[in-house]
């Protein structure tokens, strides 16, 4: 009986460790995905002068979960006929995306800032926005990457070791 309990504790703590580690790894991956997608959007705006709804439509297909939620939600808020501006639609997008993403408050704040004036200035000004957010996301990404390298293994080992420690204590 005790043995079964010990096994249960061990597997639970291991799983928790793995999950925490995975979450840590998800953040840099999603940040990188965002950077790629934003680069795609920038190209559409700069070279194609593609209107936002059309460009977002392309991104929905191009992107990956969960980042695609951001594009999907922004697009549907923009195109639902309520007459929202891109800025407002973007806020809706971020809101839905935040629930699915593994990003920090800082990451989301950077994304939120990007929405201000989205689409509503000339191409030159828009490109500046893209350049700026790329830099910001870039540094956030390297931070996240450092965190992941440092802590991902640690969380996993901690899961197992913590489980073992708990079992010993309870024994």
């Amino acid at each position: 009986m005790k043995l079964i309990g010990a096994l249960l504790i061990l597997s639970a703590s291991t799983a928790m460790g793995i999950l925490a580690g995975r979450r840590l790894a998800a953040r840099p991956r999603q940040l990188q995905r965002l950077r790629n997608d934003l680069m795609y959007l920038e190209t559409e705006i700069n070279y194609g002068a593609t209107p936002l709804p059309e460009a977002l439509g392309k991104l929905v297909k191009y992107s990956q979960w969960p980042v695609t939620v951001l594009w999907q939600e922004t697009l549907s808020s923009l195109a639902n006929g309520e007459g929202l501006m891109a800025e407002e639609a973007w806020r809706h997008g971020i809101h839905s995306f935040a629930e699915k993403a593994d990003l920090t408050k800082t990451d989301l704040a950077v994304l939120r800032d990007f929405g201000t004036g989205l689409g509503m200035t000339n191409r030159h000004e828009q490109l500046k926005k893209f350049k700026f957010i790329q830099e910001q996301l870039g540094s956030l990404h390297s931070q996240a990457e450092v965190l992941r390298a440092r802590h991902e293994r640690m969380w996993r080992t901690m899961g197992i070791l913590g489980g073992i420690a708990l079992i010993i204590l309870l024994y």
Binding site: I45, A49, T50, P51, L52, P53, L78, G81, G83, M85, A86, A89, L118, G119, M120, T121, N122, R123, E125, Q126
Partner: protein, 338 residues
């Protein structure tokens, strides 16, 4: 028979109102059907009232959303945020995609309506490149009125030679020259049973006003045999169409630049008929102008159609035959049948 394309307000709700945020949207929807039939422009200026030009008279929106003659009541003042929102709606939130349109000063909407802009001009080496900080928008409602050329076209046909005369439509602004040109193009292209068989027409629509192209597709009926070159400068466009589409008739709006003249000569020598419009109140005024004066004096155009607003837009004052040395009116079209 002059008929409005749509009598009800469905077109207005689908083609105009979606560009207005609340509360303007519901206020503008209160316009009566009679007024709507005569609504020409909706003018939006920052920090100023919203004006509606209805049948040549100004009305404005009041604070409580009524449409009453300008000068009475307390007008609704358009603030920056609302204007921004309208700009977002007409550009699909993509102001950056309007570069060409801002350089031209207007944008064509679905349905052939157009929005004119004014704001702070952006110059690049002295050439207008675009605009920022838009402060005025002018929605000009396109009315496709078919039938007004029915009486005019028979006067423009050279029956013995089975061709159309070179024709110049002279009209002051807002007297329907574009509408007449569009309807002429449609008829020349489609033909009139018993009178005219219809022929290939090349239409250079520099300002997207005639065919009202939205993303390259004509929104107005310009005839079955009409090829539209949208947004192209007239001088280049005429030559291009001549080479590429072998038209029998070429139609252009608002002649007057120097390079237009050179292309026009080219057309005349290539045996293509030209139907063109020009701004002007009468022939005397045109004779004074450098480019057009030459054409008038040399009697290049065999028919001149004079329009006015005397009985509302599209009043045909006179159709002149310029072939004899004394120009004579050919108003009674029975008179010029063979």
């Amino acid at each position: 028979m002059t008929t409005l394309k749509t009598k009800d307000r469905e077109w207005y709700r689908q083609e105009i109102l979606p560009y207005f945020p609340e509360p303007l949207k519901s206020w503008l929807d209160r316009i009566t059907v009679q007024d709507l039939a005569q609504l020409e422009e909706i003018r939006l200026r920052i920090h100023r009232p919203v004006l509606l030009q209805i049948g040549g008279k100004n009305s404005w929106l009041t604070e409580d959303g009524k449409i009453i003659p300008a000068g009475s009541g307390i007008p609704f003042i358009l603030e920056q945020a609302l204007l921004q929102k309208i700009i977002a709606l007409i550009s699909q939130s993509s102001f950056y995609a309007l570069e060409t349109e801002l350089g031209q000063g207007y944008l064509t909407l679905k349905g052939g309506h157009r929005v004119g802009f004014a704001g702070e001009a952006l110059l690049e080496q002295g050439v207008l490149r675009g605009m920022k900080h838009l402060s005025s928008l002018n929605f000009r409602l396109a009315r496709e009125i078919t039938g007004i050329a029915d009486k005019v076209l028979p006067l423009l046909i050279d029956y013995p030679n089975q061709r159309i005369y070179h024709t110049l439509i002279v009209s002051p602004p807002g007297a329907g020259k574009t509408t007449l040109l569009r309807d002429l193009v449609r008829l020349v292209s489609n033909g009139i049973p018993g009178l005219w068989p219809g022929t290939k027409v090349g239409l250079v629509d520099e300002r997207s006003e005639i065919a009202g192209c939205f993303q390259g597709i004509p929104q107005n009926d310009v005839g079955l045999q009409t090829d539209v070159l949208d947004g192209c400068p007239k001088a280049q466009g005429m030559l291009l169409l001549l080479r590429s589409m072998s038209p029998k008739v070429i139609a252009v709006d608002e002649l007057g630049k120097e390079e237009d003249a050179a292309s026009l000569w080219e057309m005349l020598h290539a045996g293509v008929t030209v139907i063109a419009t020009v701004h002007g109140h009468n022939l005397e005024e045109l004779r004074q102008r450098p480019i057009m004066g030459e054409f008038i004096k040399n009697r290049i155009f065999q028919r001149v159609v004079l329009l006015s607003r005397r009985q509302g837009p599209g009043t045909v004052e006179q159709v002149l035959d310029t072939v004899p040395s004394v120009w004579k009116p050919v108003n009674r079209w029975e008179g010029c049948l063979p």
